[in-house]
Symmetry: D2
Subunit: 138 residues, 4 copies
């Protein structure tokens, strides 16, 4: 299981009139987790671009367990989920850092498309297969 942990403080502008983080910001938190994962394992948007590919999100899901408040620090755990198809699946867990309580969990699915015309790649690209072999996530 490949995973990454990222600590991040809640920003003032992310909390809503109830004093809690607006639910839409968790999509950015997931993206921050994914980016941090990519830095750790050489698996970034820019690597895909260099191969003529974009990897748009085709499905996203989030369950909210507890609110985060301004002043809280969160810990985002991003885990790569092995998958035989030409897809990239990540799972996310966000914890309140001090108490280690689960705040939210979710997942995303990405596909490979040609960066010029957005046509779908049904077969997983070679360099991604090599990456999976290297990190033993098949």
């Amino acid at each position: 299981m490949l995973s990454d942990e990222l600590q991040m403080a809640v920003r003032f502008n992310e909390a809503d009139p109830l004093g809690i983080v607006w639910h839409g910001h968790y999509v950015r938190y997931f993206e921050d987790g994914r980016e941090s994962f990519g830095m750790k394992y050489n698996f970034s948007y820019l690597d895909f671009y260099r191969n003529g590919l974009a990897v748009p999100i085709v499905s996203l899901q989030c369950d909210y367990k507890k609110p985060l408040k301004y002043g809280d620090v969160m810990r985002i755990v991003t885990t790569f989920e092995p998958c035989a198809a030409a897809k990239i699946i990540f799972r996310y867990q966000i914890f309140e850092n001090e108490t280690s309580e689960l705040v939210a969990s979710g997942s995303s699915t990405q596909v490979f498309v040609d960066i010029r015309n957005f046509s779908l790649h049904l077969i997983s690209p070679d360099f991604f297969e090599q990456w999976k072999t290297k990190w033993e996530v098949r």
Copy 2:
């Protein structure tokens, strides 16, 4: 079936370096759809506040079918899904306005909590039951 339709243009700042709307913005589009629904059927956040309640999102899901670009106009169809439990469920469909192609679909679930301490209400509040009766969505 209670539903609302909202037309809205893609904003320049919502498109990413690929020229397409960043996936996270759809959460705001859903909220815009929900607000427009609330205006039409007297069912707004502020009505809940007056009753001492907040209605946080506890689950959100979105499937992305086709990209939206800057310059596109979308049509957000927000539908109230009847539910016996103390929950509010909405379904969303976003269409590219000109072609009527489905761009994204999703759903959200909200619960009732006390606005002071965020304690969960397990029983649906009276005024919400009355609203459902009035609009015949039970």
Copy 3:
């Protein structure tokens, strides 16, 4: 004086823990005003693109007079400020719609750059000069 008026409701996710609109969102309100102006006077980002130009903001300024709250409706007045140089200057005034109180005022300056390499155009492009002549804003 060419100007445009746009009415818009404050979104829930735009208000911060103090219950007032976070100051950063006014930059988007200004952009919404600019877009609305562009729709009215055929003066949009996309028109510039077709001419191989981008018009990035090089300067932005905002004074905040009164807070906006969730539930408020604002009126954004966007005014084109004639200018001999190769620049586009807009002035913005945001009013609370019901009371007509001034909520914020500001301005932005844009320049013309080549869309391929971001090199600055020191001379105002022909189609923009024609636009100014047509609307008598020289």
Copy 4:
């Protein structure tokens, strides 16, 4: 001169269809700089709240010199500007980290208001004066 330096990578969702960071995001970068300054010098929103005060932005200004792209790392330098009046003034400079080129510069002015009714405090609060004395920024 009290100042803070914060390094931060440009997020994918912050770049627009031109591939450059949308100008509105710099307001958040400034806020991130201010928060980082506050962590370093014990000068945070939450400290003000505990004293019954909010410190809303009343004026903001930004000059954009060069674009930031996705993949760039920025360095935000936030400097406290001494001021006799009951105001908080910060200056910001954002540099592209590798080349040290100035990307943007700006400033913000905040005032003290009562957190309950937003009435303006014309006299600087004691604890802020003590903070200025401690850090010798009068």
